[in-house]
């Protein structure tokens, strides 16, 4: 009873402020629009649920003149591109620090962790400064005669947004990869060498298979927030041509008439991500139990 009493405030808090909120989203998604005022009416009773919002969103995704469909495809493309680039940059860096940093490991770790303590906004601001038409990136490129005219990086370019996403989320990936690679028992690598494998083949046959789990969880930890990102492209391009699904949801909240659509979209996004999220929770639970 003592322990239950200790846990009770936290449990009540989670019910009221974590579980109930999602029911509210559901009620609004399944509610209707007040035709007179253009405000959403939540349907608290499941018997009153209507599919009006869902059908509306469905037409926006696949119907003629649908605008959400292309945005979903763009979101998937940006997220896939950004997470693959993150992995290609992040894996070698994490691998080096975990295996070869030697006595300088603490220094490298501090440098890898530093971005965690810097606000996302500050990190995006840094790139906005650099990528302006008269910014340093254009200055260096024109100085080297790589481009003849300054490039309008911030004028709605897909690659700017993708690089922004990479820059924003790669520290999380690297830390997960580092933790996973650091845990690999050195004896296994020595065994590989003793059996006559070269460095490349030791990596391919031993390290890479053993890092499958960290790669998966690391990718998830970058992909999940990227799918809900609306600020990176807003800051680095700000044009509808690079909008992601997060922008649609965020925009819907500012007009009451669209709140129902926003609720449906965020529910659909949640549904789409339920399986990977549960996988992530189970996988980290398992590995932390192994670590203890």
């Amino acid at each position: 009873v003592f322990w239950a009493a200790l846990a009770a405030p936290g449990i009540i808090w989670l019910i009221l402020l974590f579980i109930v909120p999602f029911y509210v989203v559901l009620a609004i998604a399944a509610g209707q629009l007040n035709q007179l005022f253009g405000t959403p009416i939540a349907a608290w009773n499941p018997l009153d649920w209507s599919s009006a919002n869902l059908i509306g969103v469905w037409h926006n995704i696949v119907g003629s003149g649908a605008f959400v469909g292309p945005i979903i495809i763009r979101t998937l493309y940006y997220t896939a591109a950004a997470s693959v680039i993150s992995l290609l940059i992040g894996y070698p860096a994490a691998y080096f620090v975990a295996r070869f940093a030697g006595r300088r490991k603490a220094l490298f770790l501090v440098l890898l962790i530093a971005p965690f303590w810097i606000s996302y906004m500050m990190r995006m601001l840094a790139w906005i400064d650099l990528l302006q038409t008269n910014g340093y990136v254009n200055k260096v490129l024109t100085f080297l005669h790589l481009v003849s005219h300054p490039v309008n990086w911030l004028g709605g370019q897909s690659y700017t947004v993708i690089l922004g996403l990479v820059y924003g989320y790669i520290p999380y990936l690297i830390l997960v990869l580092y933790a996973g690679l650091d845990r690999i028992d050195g004896a296994l690598l020595e065994a590989g060498r003793d059996l006559g494998l070269g460095r490349v083949r030791t990596f391919l046959r031993v390290t890479l298979p053993l890092s499958r789990q960290p790669i998966l969880t690391g990718m998830l930890i970058t992909v999940l927030p990227m799918l809900g990102d609306y600020f990176t492209n807003q800051l680095l391009s700000g044009t509808p041509g690079t909008a992601m699904i997060g922008n649609v949801i965020d925009g819907d909240l500012s007009t009451q008439a669209f709140e129902g659509q926003g609720a449906v979209l965020s529910m659909l996004l949640l549904l789409a991500l339920v399986v990977p999220m549960i996988y992530y929770v189970v996988a980290t639970n398992r590995s932390s139990r192994e670590a203890v």
Binding site: W3, L17, W117, S119, L125, L175, D185
Partner: protein, 314 residues
């Protein structure tokens, strides 16, 4: 999340292989392939890429001009010298700094007791309910913040209408989002310290509250401290929740202010000054947190890397 608090000494640390990895001479002899210079160069390039832009952004906060991209000499004008547009004198900028500090303080003060009590209760009270809520707790680590923020937005605009948007809504949202730090870190610590201290105290006749106060609290102190550091600094850097739940100048924190002023144009070096203030706050807390954690755990065998990982929440 996996290497929290006090996991035992790393495997292989005392063995021949572990020592060889640390001594460059032995490593060279053992390793006929030599040092991977290419990988090291690549890693340094990555680190430069990740750090130089931010260093430049900090530099531009001292720019003696309105540009965020052309250097015009050093000045403090965007911090306090300018009588109108500096962080000190522009009411909006000043309010943003105050709001961030306020939210961090409120959130830490509420989330830590809540999370610690939850961790203690859940860890000792095994059952279906406890494992379900533990799962919910960890879920809040992976659920995209936008989805959670949308749920909070609807909660305060359609169900708990008396709360509305503003500081209270922001605090409630941030507590819910961050309570998993103490809950998970303290649970990891509970697992490593085991039950023997509690049982010994009980055998010596201590009552449950006495055990809590005299035995558990001192043992849990480093974990509680580390999670407080993490909660405070995550709130400073939080953006999505406060962006969705703020509704006026008085409750707009720094991150949201930078975002709202910067997109679609040149916000001026005052924003860089604001960002730099956030950065300095976070670094001060991180450094204080690291050394505080080292002092609190000095009786234990915790390495630099492990303390670093704990303070980073890894």
């Amino acid at each position: 999340m996996t290497t929290t608090a006090a996991t035992p000494v790393q495997p292989g640390a005392g063995t021949v292989g572990g020592q060889a990895a640390r001594s460059p001479l032995l490593r060279l002899r053992r390793n006929p392939w030599g040092h991977p210079w290419f990988l090291e160069g690549f890693t340094w390039l990555y680190l430069l890429w990740s750090i130089v832009p931010i260093a430049l952004a900090v530099l531009f906060s001292f720019n003696n001009g309105k540009s965020q991209s052309v250097w015009q000499g050093f000045s403090w004008r965007w911090y306090f010298s300018d009588p109108v547009n500096s962080v000190l004198h522009d009411p909006q900028l000043r309010l943003a700094v105050i709001q961030t500090l306020r939210l961090s303080t409120y959130t830490t003060l509420i989330a830590i007791p809540l999370g610690v009590a939850f961790a203690l209760g859940i860890n000792r009270w095994r059952g279906y309910t406890s494992s379900t809520f533990n799962f919910v707790m960890i879920l809040s680590f992976v659920i995209p913040e936008l989805i959670f923020g949308v749920a909070m937005f609807f909660l305060f605009t359609d169900l708990f209408k008396s709360v509305g948007l503003g500081t209270l809504a922001e605090t409630l949202g941030l507590v819910t989002w961050n309570v998993s730090w103490p809950a998970i870190i303290v649970q990891a610590r509970l697992v490593t310290i085991g039950r023997q201290y509690e049982e010994a105290a009980a055998d010596l006749g201590a009552t449950q509250p006495q055990i809590m106060r005299r035995v558990m609290m001192p043992l849990l102190a480093p974990a509680i401290f580390a999670s407080a550091v993490l909660v405070f600094s995550s709130v400073i850097d939080d953006f999505v929740i406060v962006d969705l739940l703020n509704n006026s100048v008085g409750n707009t924190p720094m991150s949201v202010y930078i975002y709202s002023q910067q997109h679609g144009g040149n916000g001026g070096p005052a924003l860089n000054a604001l960002g730099t203030i956030m950065l300095v706050m976070s670094f001060v807390i991180a450094i204080a947190g690291y050394f505080g954690y080292r002092v609190m755990t000095r009786g234990e065998r915790i390495g630099t890397q492990q303390a670093l990982a704990t303070i980073a929440g890894a």
